[in-house]
């Protein structure tokens, strides 16, 4: 169950949830380098837009850009939920 007060792997985050990146762990060196260049670094806010079925890629949006990541790679990104706004 996703709780916004503790860290989660990005792969567990439900669609529509806004989270903040805590750390990039367990990622291959090229992927880490690419994400770094794109500005996906600790502190970045991102939204999970879509999770493709059967364990397919996860689509995330951050800083006005949208990328698809594999579920296993998303598991290497540790995030923490933003408290949900009660009016949304």
């Amino acid at each position: 169950m996703f709780a916004s007060d503790r860290p989660h792997p990005l792969s567990d985050v439900p669609v529509g949830q806004t989270v903040r990146v805590e750390a990039l762990l367990n990622l291959s060196a090229p992927l880490k380098a690419r994400l770094t260049a794109l500005g996906l670094v600790p502190g970045t806010e991102l939204v999970v837009e879509r999770r493709m079925p059967f364990g397919g890629p996860v689509v995330v949006r951050f800083a006005d850009q949208r990328f698809a990541l594999r579920r296993t790679d998303a598991g290497g990104i540790v995030v923490r939920g933003e408290p949900r706004c009660e009016f949304c």
């Binding site: 380098a33 397919g56 949208r66 698809a68």
Partner: protein, 708 residues
């Protein structure tokens, strides 16, 4: 003057390149359309402009990115034209800042200002230029807006005087003063630029920013810089060296092994401070600088409703609807190409070739008193051979039109997301689907498109299976036979041939990635660019550029092939053959005929057509046209019906779908896959696969009583 065109993927580099040079390099709306260097000339200035693959950062990850970094490191250029996507300013400027370490003239083309405005972002180019220390010109490459101003600024920047080295303190101020004194021209001061616009009275002085990288990194950079002789590239190369770009590391450490310890100590010092890598340290500093800059140069209107692209993606990448929609779209394209539009047009063209054209040419030749030999060569050789191929021009252009539409709209990137789970099962990623779809048009660009795949084993596997995709040349063979033998369900028969190719490609991928190309899973990160309403001009031009190769091939390769094949058919071992049955062509075919007997098409004509088909797959049709002495269209159909049954025709088509890549594709594979034996192995493998499959279909069909 030689200018490098540098920018992030999908920012419109090639569109700008085409606009400035008048060339027609391929463009699309997905990351990685350009996979090699293309040189053109800016006519108005007489400068050479080099279009290079897009890069996100100066640390290359894929094969095509390495080409760009190598070009930058070579120093073989006078200036850089950096294209920046105004709608993605933050991450684009990260690259711009990295480029500023190259102390040569740089001009920023701020592209897609219209897209940015539509998103409510107004970028102030003057403010940006002041902060970056380089000229910034707003443009819309797709429409050509702002290009005159861009050329003017580029010229002013390039003819200026360059100051080598990195002057500091007073020396630097003196250099600026000297630059300002060079009235009416522009000048560059290393570490900064002083641009004096020709037509303005007041000189515009600009300085490049100095980004504080922290004491540890700065000390290491200064220790490394003396290893490079070119003062304008020192900082750039030192940064890449410390970031660990393999080619630069190898070069430096061969010359100065002692520097290795500087690099290693820096890495461990950064690690101790919690920074992942030198690259991360540099990128972090650049982003910090940019985040301070953006509020000063971008005016962001209140966010509007969700962008249309995201609303379209709600449907197109929907977990349940997405894949059925993709399949429906492919079926729709097939229907247009083969049934609804392509075939009627082809039939009309065929009627023209076999009727009025052949008669008119025949009468004309008779009237001018051409020798019977030449009459036969032209009518039975050239018109029959080239005509048999040209008849299919409509289908091919329709197919290329749809492929251009897919490329230009941004949909291909979505396909790479939709198909990832499926492709993963076969050891590839969803990105491999893009080269495969392009391969439907022509295998050669398909094989080349594999370059954007980061992992080498996946890239090679994708390139090697791309020839199983039925290209437009094979479509010509299918269309001829399907039209002749299957009166109902033509679309389905056609589709089954494409599916056989896809199935064999996937199975082969699994085989390759489980054996010779085994390895760790590769990097998968696919950007979903905003959708674009395709520009009609770009679309038609893209279709023409792709399709014209087919017409050129018909006019050259197939023309020549037809003449040679016809001559082989007219000449026997002892001079002129009395009939084609005694010709060299027939002898050649008969030698191989027994090989194909078990597959149901053991005629010498089919055997010869398959051999010549290696040159180009359309030649199969041209050869059959000549060998059956029938020409194109209705007469050829009748001849085929006497040599094939529907079952053996289908076995023949499956064989053609798979048997070997054509000459041009083989050459592309040799270029793209570094181990030659793999390409050779693949050719033997695909021939064997085609043989076994055709055998099973023919013999199996006979056992089931389908006639033979």
């Amino acid at each position: 003057m030689r200018i490098l065109l540098i920018g992030q993927p999908n920012t419109g580099k090639t569109t700008l390149f085409n606009r400035l040079t008048g060339l027609q390099a391929a463009v699309g709306n997905w990351s990685g359309v350009t996979v090699e260097e293309t040189v053109g000339r800016i006519r108005r200035l007489g400068y050479a402009l080099v279009d290079l693959p897009g890069i996100y950062d100066l640390v290359p990850i894929s094969h095509d990115e390495a080409i760009t970094v190598r070009a930058l490191a070579s120093g073989a250029y006078d200036g850089i034209l950096n294209i920046v996507d105004a709608s993605q300013l933050r991450r684009n400027l990260q690259l711009t800042l990295a480029l500023l370490s190259i102390e040569r003239p740089i001009v920023v083309a701020l592209n897609m200002v219209d897209v940015a405005e539509a998103e409510g972002k107004a970028v102030d180019p003057e403010a940006l230029a002041d902060r970056l220390g380089v000229p910034v010109v707003p443009v819309v490459a797709r429409t050509g807006a702002g290009l005159d101003a861009l050329l003017e600024v580029l010229d002013e920047t390039m003819v200026g005087r360059a100051y080598a080295g990195r002057p500091a303190g007073e020396e630097r101020e003196a250099a600026f003063a000297e630059a300002a004194a060079v009235g009416g021209e522009s000048a560059h001061v290393s570490g900064g630029t002083a641009v004096l616009l020709k037509r303005s009275d007041a000189p515009v002085l600009r300085r490049r920013p100095e980004i504080d990288v922290g004491p540890k990194l700065e000390a290491a950079l200064q220790a490394v810089e003396p290893a490079f002789s070119d003062p304008t590239l020192r900082r750039f190369l030192a940064e890449r060296y410390l970031e660990g770009v393999p080619e630069i590391v190898n070069d430096v450490e061969r010359r100065r092994p002692a520097l290795r310890s500087v690099r290693e100590q820096l890495a461990s010092a950064l690690h101790a401070g919690g920074t992942e890598s030198v690259q991360a340290a540099l990128v972090e500093r650049r982003y910090a600088w940019i985040d301070a800059l953006i509020p000063a140069v971008v005016r962001q209107a209140a966010p509007r409703r969700r962008p249309a692209s995201e609303r379209i993606d709600d449907i197109v990448t929907h977990p349940m609807v997405g894949i059925p929609l993709f399949i429906a779209l492919m079926l729709f394209i097939f229907q247009w190409t083969f049934d609804w539009l392509g075939t009627p047009l082809s039939e009309a063209l065929d009627a023209f070739f076999s009727g009025p054209l052949t008669e008119a040419v025949g009468r004309g030749l008779e009237a001018i008193g051409a020798a019977p030999f030449f009459r036969a060569l032209i009518v039975e050789g050239i018109i029959a051979g080239v005509g048999a191929v040209l008849v299919f021009v409509p289908q091919i252009f329709i197919l290329f039109f749809f492929i251009s539409l897919l490329e230009d709209s941004g949909y291909l990137a979505r396909v790479a997301v939709l198909m990832d789970r499926l492709m993963d099962r076969f050891g590839l990623s969803g990105k491999a689907f893009i080269p495969l779809i392009i391969g439907f048009g022509c295998n050669v660009p398909g094989v080349m498109a594999a370059r954007t795949i980061e992992s080498s084993r996946e890239r090679w596997a994708t390139a090697l299976i791309t020839p199983f995709m039925s290209c437009s040349a094979r479509l010509v063979v299918y269309a001829l036979f399907v039209g002749a033998f299957f009166s109902r369900g033509q679309g389905l028969v056609m589709l089954s041939l494409y599916l056989v190719g896809i199935a064999m490609a996937l199975l082969t991928a699994r085989l390759l990635t489980r054996t010779v190309l085994r390895g760790a899973p590769s990097m998968y990160l696919v950007e979903l660019p905003p959708y674009r309403v395709p520009n009609v001009r770009t679309l038609l031009r893209g279709t023409w550029e792709k399709g014209k190769g087919f017409i050129i091939k018909a006019g050259t390769f197939i023309f020549g092939g037809s003449v040679v094949i016809w001559l082989l058919g007219a000449v026997g071992p002892h001079g002129t053959a009395a009939s084609i049955e005694e010709s060299v062509l027939a002898l050649l075919g008969r030698a191989l005929q027994p090989l194909f007997q078990p597959l149901g098409f053991g005629t010498w004509q089919a055997a010869v057509a398959l051999i010549t088909g290696f040159l180009a797959k359309e030649v199969v049709v041209a050869t059959l046209g000549i060998a059956f002495y029938a020409g194109e269209g209705t007469a050829l159909t009748a001849a085929l019906k006497s040599a094939f049954t529907p079952l053996s025709a289908y076995a023949f088509l499956v064989f053609v779908a798979l048997y070997v890549p054509c000459l041009a594709t083989t050459a592309a594979l040799f270029r793209e896959v570094p181990r030659r034996r793999w390409t050779v192995l693949m050719m033997g493998y695909s021939f064997a696969l085609a043989y076994v499959l055709a055998l099973v279909i023919y013999q199996g069909g006979r056992l089931l009583g389908m006639g033979g």
